[in-house]
Symmetry: C2
C-alpha cells in the first residue's frame, strides 16, 4: 500500500465518520420534530382545527430556502426535504383521522 | 377569546417555535453533510475510484433504520430520507463528471 493510498483511506474514513455522526444527529432531530407535529395534531384535534395550514407551509418553505442559501445547502434540496416531511405528516394525519389521535405539520 | 383558546394558541406557538429550531438545525447539518460528500467526491476522483459504494449504502441504511427505531422515528421515513440524499448525491456526481470535480456519498 502506497503512502498516497494510506492517506486516501484515512481521509475517506474520517469523512465517513463525520457523515455517520451528522446522519445520527439528523435522525434524532427528525424524531423530535415528529413528536412536535404529533403534539400539534392532538391540540388541533381537540379544538377541531384543520390539520393543514397552507400559509404556515409557505412561510416554512420560504424560511428553509433562505436558511439553505445562507448555509451553503442547495435551496431546491431543502424544498425536497420539506415536501417529504409534509407528505409524511399528511399521511400520518390521514391515519390519525381513522384512529382518532392527531399528527400534523 | 376564551382561556382555552389562549392556551391553544400559546401551546401551538411554542411547538411551532421548536419545529422551526429543529428545521434550522437540520438544514445546517445537511449543508455540512454535503460538504463531506463533496470532499469524498474530490478524493475519489483523485484516485480514480467509482463514486458509488453499494456496500456502504446498505450499511448506512441498516444503521439509519436502527437509529430511527431507537429514537422513535419511523424507520421507513428514515429510509425515504436516505434515498432522497443518495439521489441528490448521485445527481451532483453526474454534474461533477462533466465539470471534472467530485461529489458523492
Amino acid at each position: 500500500m502506497t503512502d498516497d493510498h494510506q492517506s486516501f483511506e484515512g481521509d475517506l474514513a474520517r469523512l465517513r465518520q463525520s457523515i455517520d455522526n451528522l446522519d445520527a444527529a439528523m435522525v434524532h432531530l427528525l424524531a423530535e420534530r415528529f413528536r412536535c407535529t404529533h403534539a400539534i395534531g392532538e391540540l388541533k384535534a381537540r379544538v377541531g382545527l384543520a390539520s393543514r395550514d397552507p400559509k404556515r407551509e409557505v412561510a416554512q418553505l420560504r424560511r428553509l430556502r433562505s436558511l439553505a442559501s445562507q448555509s451553503g445547502l442547495d435551496p431546491d434540496f431543502a424544498q425536497k426535504l420539506h415536501a417529504l416531511v409534509v407528505r409524511e405528516v399528511i399521511t400520518n394525519h390521514e391515519a390519525v383521522k381513522i384512529s382518532g389521535a392527531g399528527n400534523q405539520c
